[in-house]
Symmetry: C2
């Protein structure tokens, strides 16, 4: 699925973020992996463009031409990248994809404003929908759906922040949070794509449900990699999210499942100011005893299965079916 | 003009930012001046709601009912407030309207995300346009105009940041920057209001031009208050913007006009690490010699005159004409 749309998406994104004399767009081009800090073009180290790929895929799978969905696809990718720029400021992360982050290079103030520019360029992209033979009514509907999804994503990010430092979050609340933070854009990518492709309401709903499971599979796999990921691929040491006391799914599950000494160990470690190597090891050992990795990997596999079965009643070409199966496989084994 | 719309705008804004259980909206209600940090309702210390007032005024003046423009008016005010939340983070300002700012109360990360929520609630408000008997085509057009204006505002903020620490900005570049940073929302408030009120293209254009001059008058008056404002009303000491080495219009003008010892004094002061009381005084004395205050106040008066003359060919009721005259008078003498 990725190679099918990669070049088209890349071209459309570049049109939205042209070079400029004074700088804001230069920071954005840097953050997209197209330019170095001095503004020189570099061999791209771009992201996967997962959300726009899903959007274009759903549009074509539903029988539409991909041009109709391109403004929405571009908007989704730009909003995702806006959220990464701001996330790095919030989390004080100094590198992403092995490169210094925007705030680490240009300071907080410029990173903040550059992120906001990216967010508004994403909105501005939607004005192009009506130029792609989409009716005013549909353009209006799509803009409304995307805006609601973006709002949900940000609300999820706020929830995520509000869970920090708590040891009583619980699985239900955590899953609700990632359904907003990550799921909203996956759902919207697929349902808006299907809608613009001309799908009937039940097909749009099936794609929406498909996106719901994909979002869970993607985020939970992300959480697994945050703890047990291969350092070379992720750029982070094993146990990275434990050291940051991040409330990711493995931790939330471990805290909910642990009893007795396991429970008090987790609570003690997570309530202490900083976590040393020994504490990280003891948390990892506790998770081993509680079979947390197995549980979370099973959860990813379940959502991948569900992703496929939601599309059972949707007429897909054999190629499209194969593409979505490969995507699910990729999501469940990806190392970064 | 303000009392005419104040209650209606307040009600519409409150509907968009309801109380919630987990917090993000609570920060927004605090920032709007409706609640204290614990979430208790307080006697409102709201802003002037200038932009939505202008939008509703233009809609009614053009012959429309104000309901049609309310979603756009709400969006404008929310976007303005989103930018204030982020501005305070960037400028490290700890108080606004004599209250601790959002970041000073809840930290940078939550302030950043809460600002983003506000921005997206502003976008979501536009979905209501079509419920107010606005056609899909006009709703689309209005959303496009607002998005472009918001983008221009943020681009102006980025320009403002990029001018920091420079002594060679020049009047032309500075006026171009404030035309984006402040002017974009004033222009859009009036032209979108007129458009939704049913005005013909030449009237919409006149309102747009009116907003252009109002934006200049407002921002230049703001710059004057940043240096010579009454400390009790503004909450800042005389010379505040000099101490912060802010590139506001009086400074940019002084730097462009100064020759010989005046020029070297300004350059020396603005290139030093920190500015003490004595340095602030010497800059203020230099500005006195260069008659900077007179020049900037004349500029405000010119733009107020131009604001009125742009509407000479627009049919306005005597009440509407009186309202806009009073607004211009208010803008040129306001103390905070």
């Amino acid at each position: 699925m990725f190679p099918r749309y990669k070049a088209r998406i890349g071209d459309a994104l570049r049109l939205r973020l042209p070079g400029d004399g004074y700088g804001a767009y230069h920071l954005l081009r840097y953050s997209m992996g197209w330019a170095d800090a001095e503004g020189n073009a570099i061999v791209a180290t771009e992201g996967k463009a997962l959300r726009p790929t899903l959007c274009l895929f759903a549009c074509e799978a539903a029988g539409g031409t991909l041009e109709r969905a391109m403004p929405a696809a571009v908007s989704l990718e730009l909003v995702h990248n806006f959220s990464l720029i701001h996330d790095d400021v919030q989390d004080r992360d100094e590198t992403r994809h092995h490169r210094p982050t925007v705030w680490a290079t240009w300071g907080d103030a410029k990173a903040l404003v550059a992120g906001n520019v990216m967010n508004l360029v994403a909105d501005a992209s939607l004005a192009e929908l009506v130029q792609k033979s989409v009716s005013f009514e549909d353009a209006n509907r799509v803009a409304g759906l995307l805006t609601q999804a973006y709002l949900e994503m940000i609300e999820g990010q706020y929830l995520d922040l509000s869970y920090e430092g708590r040891s009583d979050v619980g699985m239900r609340a955590y899953l609700g949070m990632i359904s907003k933070k990550t799921g909203a854009l996956f759902r919207c990518a697929l349902n808006v794509g299907a809608l613009l492709g001309g799908a009937d309401p039940s097909t749009v709903k099936a794609f929406d449900e498909c996106g719901r499971h994909l979002g869970f599979a993607f985020q939970i796999r992300d959480d697994v990699l945050g703890i047990w990921g291969d350092g070379v691929a992720t750029g982070k040491p094993v146990g990275a999210d434990v050291r940051r006391k991040k409330n990711s799914l493995p931790i939330v599950y471990a805290m909910a499942k642990a009893r007795g000494t396991d429970a008090s160990l987790l609570k003690t470690v997570y309530s202490s100011e900083t976590i040393d190597d020994e504490a990280v090891d003891s948390v990892l050992q506790t998770m081993d005893r509680l079979e947390v990795k197995e549980y979370t990997e099973d959860l990813v596999a379940e959502h991948c299965d569900a992703t496929l079965s939601t599309l059972d009643d949707v007429k897909l070409s054999p190629e499209d079916r194969k593409d979505i199966e490969e995507l699910c496989h990729f999501l469940s084994v990806r190392q970064h």
